[in-house]
Amino acid sequence: MALPNNHGYFGNFGGSFIPETLYSCLEELKKAYARAKKDKSFKTNLDYYLKEYAARPTRLYFAKHLSAYLGLKVYLKREDLLHTGAHKINNSLGQALLAKYMGKKRIIAETGAGQHGVSAATVARLFGLSCDVYMGEEDMARQRMNVFRMKILGAKVIPVLSGSKTLKDACSEAIREWVTSVRDTYYLIGSTFGPHPYPMIVRDFQSVIGKEARAQIIQKEKKLPDFLVACVGGGSNAMGLFYNFFKDEKVKFIGVEAGGLSRNLNSASISYGDIGVLHGAKTYVLQDKFGQVKGTHSIAAGLDYPGVGPEHSFYNDSKRGRYVTVKDSEALEGFKMLSELEGIIPALESAHAIYYLKKLAKKNKGALVILCLSGRGDKDLEIVQSYLDAEKRG
């Protein structure tokens, strides 16, 4: 059976927990998406922009040195080479075309690391839509370059001062704006979360990653991989990679969550959270026993979120995927490892997945792995520098 079901559920997870005001626009979105999916010209159009504008297909690169170092056979799915520097553009192109298809003139978006904000601002420019991006004040400070990029692209970046001033609050604020201007505004959600049909739509637009990777690995290795490894915040790059391998039961999925600083301060919703409802979906949520959502932390702003896409929660509970944690310090090691061995500077988000390969290698020598290199590290250089300086000072 295809998931989600008609009510937006992946097993026990998902659904649509929203203020009543949003009901009709989600219905409108469901209908428009169903129409667009069947519309050949929509697909042709999207394929054109993915290829000519975003530079798809991305390469599946055999990381020779990393493989030798770890005793694995590692291929990198190079989403970092896409226009704007991360996988986010796949989804933004798809949804912006959908917004246009629906006749909307304005998009709003939330962003954590700024990668989704940049890709939303980019497609808004491309398709002549106006664009407001909600971003936590703390994230604006630590991702200054992306803020500047969005401004250059003509988007309005709206600082969010509530709560922890990170992605969670940016998301709440974007929903508030959406409730307010629901009649003419399209909410371009950046990851596989939110109310139905967003987790499905974002997954579908990101599934191009796994679709390509599956064909590429078969061509290069004449077989399917043993493991797929990707970082999980909201979970869109991971779901994008995993989805087309769902029926390949021997291919194991590993989602790497941000272990942050400790068991008490992290962003690992599946590993350390409980089932709850956040931003429209039932999923694993980092929360206290009274159902208040906890403050989170990750060195990677793009993983710094207390919830996770409901389909990942479903993969976890049905044992289709395994979800593990990698701490800040380990992610930094992953960051250095890939930079030094392969000459590729990864985003700190992806660096979590890279580090995990080290753990994976211990018991799985020689295994064939595809790792989703979801973004490039340029945006993170200041952060990495400050951590390295702190390390030096001891």
Binding site: F17, I18, P19, E20, K168, T180, Q287, F290, G291
Partner: protein, 262 residues
Amino acid sequence: MNIKQKFQQLKKEGRKAFIAYVPFGFPSIAKTKDILLALQEAGVDIIELGIPFSDPIADGPIIQAATAVALAKGANTKNIISTLKALKPSLKVPLALMTYYNPILQAGVAKFFSQMRQAGACAILTVDLPIDEAHEYRRLAKKYGIETVFFITPVTPKERAKKIIRSASGFLYYISVTGTTGLGKTLSFTSLARHIKQLKLQTELPICVGFGIHTRKQIERVWNFSDGAIVGSGIVKFIADNHSKRNFLNRLKKYVKSLKPD
């Protein structure tokens, strides 16, 4: 007195409902007790007591800020019940709890309903639980004698409104604007009146109007075509601005009375 009896009484007396919203735990748990009693003395017909939630996606800045204070003061689903139990002998105004879904999901919906019933609350409004997700919730609410209020908005399609009416009890909450709670909204009274008139043809349930309503004049106008007006952010702002002043409770009573049309 429960909500049904309250509306029957109001109808008999030819009056409309004045409903006040305050968040539990703001500015402190102890002061919430005094505030609830002050609202009662000021002649509020129904009190909506908000359960603070860390991510109030339907609330504007005033209630967001109050909620953050309440959470910092330790407000939660456990001490809201114990506070209400302690107040039960003196608080006679029908009490509805307004919440987001996650706090009651974690408390256990059945357990929470049974406890709130014992504590004297008679209705629940859950902002982010639309009827489609509310089957079990409604079943349990019925079992424990809790009325389930649902929302209708200016963008609710007609067919949808019918379903909501069938799912609701106690009263219907008509959200006056597309947007969050707060002040400074532009209310279109003509279209409000028209929508509510249409809904009235379909249901006997009282229809009360909330969001953006905070002046006596607005309340008067809303009363013309509905069964009640809900004031939230206006009162919360008054509490925020005045709770540390002398004679705060008297000021609050005076303010609330000044909102209520004769």
